[in-house]
């Protein structure tokens, strides 16, 4: 069905449910998986962030159809929440799920990188 979830309450439930499972997943210590992606993959991820996320969030991530994703906008937002939104998208809005392309490990690195800012694709 394309009839989307109505705006907030359903969405919050969805996000909190997602968060809950993520937390569950993280509470089991994964053996040595907390590794940054390879440099080549890092460059690809930054390219994706600037060019493809940029088509909705602005090339400089200052915001567009989607909200701004600069360090000051992400400050105080939970990394797990941000990772979840990126991997699963936000149903009923244009924010698509990226889990086909970005792994959980990569998204954690990407979120840390986004919070640092100074993103440059060249």
């Amino acid at each position: 069905m394309m009839k989307m979830l109505s705006q907030s309450p359903a969405r919050n439930v969805f996000i909190s449910a997602g968060l809950f499972f993520l937390l569950l997943a993280f509470s089991v210590p994964a053996a040595g998986t907390e590794q940054d992606p390879e440099p080549k993959r890092q460059r690809e991820l930054i390219h994706l962030l600037v060019q493809d996320c940029g088509s909705c969030h602005g090339l400089t991530l200052k915001g567009g159809l989607g909200p701004a994703l600069l360090p000051q906008d992400l400050e105080g937002k939970d990394n797990e929440y941000l990772s979840e939104v990126i991997l699963e998208g936000v149903p009923g809005t244009p924010m698509p799920p990226w889990n086909v392309e970005i792994t959980e490990n990569e998204v954690r690195w990407l979120v840390r990188r986004m919070k640092e800012g100074e993103i440059n694709d060249r």
Binding site: M1, M2, K3, M4, Q51, D52, G54, S55, C56, G58, L59, T60, K62, G63, G64, L65, G89, G92, T93, P94, P96, P97, E101, D121, R122
Partner: protein
Amino acid sequence: MTVKYLIRTFVFAALLLASSGSLADMRGSGDLGVIIERASGSIQIIETTNRTKLFSVEGLGDLSHASVVFSRDQRFAFVFGRDGGLTKVDILTGKIVKRVVQGGNAIGGAISQDGKLVAVSNYEPGGVRVFNSQTLEMVADIPAEYDGGLLSKTVGLVDAPGNKFIFSLYDAGQTWIADFSASNTPVITKFTDIGLLPYDGLITPDARYYIAGLFGEDGMAMLDLWHPEKGIKRILDGYGRGEEPLPVYKMPHLEGWAAAGGNIFLPAIGRYEVLVVSASSWKEVARIPVHGQPVFAMARPDGRQVWVNFAHPKNDVLQVIDVDTMSIIKTFKPGRAILHMEFTPRGEQIWVSVRDRNVVEVYDTTTLEKITELPVDTPSGIFLSARASRMGL
């Protein structure tokens, strides 16, 4: 008439000639165009007769999602940047005539029927601002206020007959008409409850219908400009109902909505299909399965072909639909990130941006062969000056 006067006139004329190049250098601007260099904040001015670059113009700010409209004499390009920059460029000399930063986060613009006003649609602060096209001084500010003071992002801004601008409010689900026919203080007509999350809008090539794409629902909102009193009508309600839509990695564009053979070809949302809709009944006539989520479906000016590009991650392919048989007659693989394409005014060539290869390719639309390619740094939008004489562009 004094001698002094004659001499002065002569000197003035000579200066004028010297400054604008000799007569032999004079040219028209009907075969010129602008290509956006997305990452470097510059544009190239090209010509489509010999397919060469004429100028590179720098310093236009953030040009992601930039768009361009042309003055009615086709001499000036108004470039709308993402950072709210509005830049007026003389495409005959390759010089910036004037640049203002009018808002925080802009999404597109339009030029009025009489050519005197340029409007910019802003995400931030949400609303539309209107400028004198000569001076770029602001003449009207239209905040997109709804629900007692919230500001909505505005999308789908177009010009319409009668010196009007029409646009939609993404957050509020409304469409507004701003009528500038009487004065620079527009008369605003608001249509509320048009549907959830309008993400873009267009006016049909005959300038009769305004149609907003709705992200939040399965359908579109249509306004008949001959009968605005009848209000918004929903069309294509429930197309694809019962199917799980695929994720959309880039919002489809309605601007290039292709009208061909009495039908309109448009990108389906969340489906790997081009929808074919009757331009008289607004009912679905067919669906053409394509390679990915379509972004632009553009009709060749004679309406015989529709060219389609696709969203990430399938954006390395370009397909050509034959309108007569409604089937795909050619699939190209020019490289990653095919962002935009534009036909020459009579459609014998199409220019295609291939961002990740840093080239713009030119195809012959009869033989479907590549004619040439030009080096362009991260090319995105391609806008040819013939747009000057088309409503809604």
